[in-house]
């Protein structure tokens, strides 16, 4: 069936969102069951009769009818969304109210509302992202486990706990209250940023899964941009960062699945449409007084995006953007990326010097690309033996076959002279 996976994924978030609004957040599990039933029914019917012309309308109608059945059957036994309360009790209003909540505009808001609800401060950021993936993006437990490189059992436990917290909240997040919306927005940004980064830099070996995480983060961020309260300079900056980074995705892995570093990428494969849109977002993000981490990371990405050839890269500006980033959000990883940019600009010895002066450098020890960066700079300084040692350390830390192959090739390069320099993608 060609309507396949993506259709169910897309619809799952919309339908669970709409049903949770009707049933109340305490009946989240019931909403998920009804949606699963609708999907099962769809598969049964479509197998025989073929996929209907408008499969999402079909799914929506099926879910709506199941919702009406459930509401009629259980209205004395269960309590549903408190704010709808008695309107679900009477046949005068039941169907029209459900109809209204399934209308196109309402559904769009349901997704946002669910997204904000998932970013509950009582949940860890990791749990928020897992919930978003599960409820809004329709990822199964296995798919989430694979994306985060964790076990099925651990993921299941985390999700169950998170859902319990969500279902324990009095009601879904109210996105119509401007003050609440603005207060929760940074947490939502953070979760989407994590989701995107998990796709872009994550440990999963499945490039397809990872590209999908990026796409989902972009889709949800686009949803924020459609909402008048969500359309803030920071949301634009986050969008710019996502779009500009995502533009490089097609060039990051070659046909045989090898990782290609930013310096060596075939820039003609970069997605020009995403770049143009990303630059537009960056421009729109320039309103207001706040200069955030997202602004700076997007600006760095824009400099890469605008350099036709690697040699044209404006490393000096990149270093100064990293300097600014370090004052806003100092971290060893950002310092490492800054040091690499310094090396591009002023030579490997200066880069090494910068790396040696990173505060909390020991926290980078588990990160394969820290050793790899040291190795590259040593290699460029002509100290092949030291470079080899660092590459071996990096190899020992590599998280998937793709990283392993990449580092193996670099280790091999130490045997030859005149090897081209490598710049690691910013993290």
């Amino acid at each position: 069936m060609d309507a396949g996976d993506h259709l169910f994924r897309r619809e799952s978030g919309r339908l669970v969102g709409a049903l949770t609004r009707i049933f109340g957040v305490h009946n989240l599990a019931l909403a998920e069951d009804v949606v699963q039933d609708a999907f099962c029914r769809a598969l049964e019917v479509w197998r025989i009769r073929g996929v209907p012309e408008n499969p999402s309308a079909w799914l929506m109608a099926t879910a709506k009818n199941s919702a009406l059945d459930v509401l009629r059957r259980e209205r004395t036994a269960r309590s549903f969304a408190p704010e709808l309360g008695r309107f679900l009790q009477s046949e005068w209003t039941l169907a029209p109210v459900v109809e209204e909540l399934f209308a196109a505009d309402a559904i769009k808001d349901d997704l946002l509302c669910m997204m904000f609800s998932c970013c509950q401060p009582r949940l860890s950021e990791q749990a928020q992202v897992a919930l978003i993936l599960h409820i809004l993006c329709g990822f199964s437990v296995d798919e989430i486990a694979s994306a985060f490189v964790s076990s099925r059992a651990a993921t299941e436990k985390r999700l169950t706990r998170a859902k319990k917290v969500l279902a324990g909240s009095k009601r879904l997040f109210d996105i119509t209250a401007p003050a609440d919306f603005s207060a929760r927005l940074p947490a939502v940004h953070r979760a989407l940023y994590l989701l995107f980064n998990e796709g872009y830099h994550g440990a999963s070996a499945e490039t397809a899964v990872r590209a999908e995480l990026c796409r989902e983060a972009m889709r949800l961020n686009a949803l924020l941009l459609k909402h008048p309260l969500g359309r803030t300079p920071m949301t634009y900056a986050l969008a710019a960062l996502m779009w500009l980074d995502a533009a490089r995705l097609p060039a990051r892995v070659d046909a045989s699945g090898n990782l290609i570093s930013l310096l060596d990428q075939d820039r003609s494969q970069w997605d020009q449409e995403l770049i143009v849109e990303g630059l537009k977002f960056l421009e729109l993000s320039a309103a207001g007084a706040d200069l955030t981490q997202f602004h700076l990371e997007a600006a760095i990405a824009s400099i890469h995006a605008c350099a036709r050839r690697t040699e044209d890269t404006d490393w000096k500006t990149i270093v100064s953007l990293y300097d600014a980033l370090m004052t806003i959000r100092p971290s060893p990883i950002i310092a490492l990326n800054r040091a690499i940019a310094v090396a591009q600009n002023e030579g490997p010895e200066r880069g090494l010097e910068e790396i040696r002066s990173i505060t909390n450098r020991d926290r980078l020890a588990v990160y394969p690309f820290y050793s790899a960066a040291l190795a590259e700079l040593e290699l460029r300084s002509g100290r092949h033996e030291t470079a080899r040692e660092h590459f071996r350390a990096a190899l020992a830390l590599s998280r998937n076959p793709m990283e392993r192959r990449f580092l193996d090739r670099r280790l091999g390069a130490c045997e030859r002279d005149g090897t081209p320099p490598i710049y690691y993608d910013q993290v």
Binding site: F87, Q89, S90, W92, T93, P96, V97, E99
Partner: protein, 114 residues
């Protein structure tokens, strides 16, 4: 505050397309929401099907349907709270059934004191 029953009668004889029917239902929902918001709604009640059975007399004779003319047929009921009959009547003037030739019968709930 006193309680009143609205008996909705008629309004079914004008043929309606499914689209019009749906619009009509939305109007009812909007009307009830407004009543609820203003604190006049004790209970929504329910709409009633036209067909049914009538059970009558000591012999408990069962016959089809209420036999009334379409315009007299009770199509549903609600329980309303209002300060007095005049107020309840005033409120009833927003009922969508009036737009399609129906009527609202406003009846105070009788308080039986023993």
């Amino acid at each position: 505050m006193s309680e009143f029953t609205y008996l909705y009668r008629g309004g079914r004889d004008t043929p309606q397309s499914p689209e019009q029917r749906q619009k009509q239902l939305q109007k009812w929902a909007a009307w009830f929401k407004e009543l609820g918001a203003n604190g006049h709604l004790k209970e929504l009640g329910h709409p009633l099907e036209t067909a049914g059975m009538v059970v009558k007399g000591n012999q408990k004779i069962v016959t089809d349907g209420p036999y009334a003319e379409a315009k007299d047929l009770v199509g549903g009921f609600s329980l309303i709270e209002a300060s007095d009959l005049a107020h309840a009547v005033e409120i009833s003037k927003g009922c969508p059934i009036l737009e399609v030739g129906g009527s609202v019968e406003v009846r105070p709930v009788m308080q039986i004191n023993m």
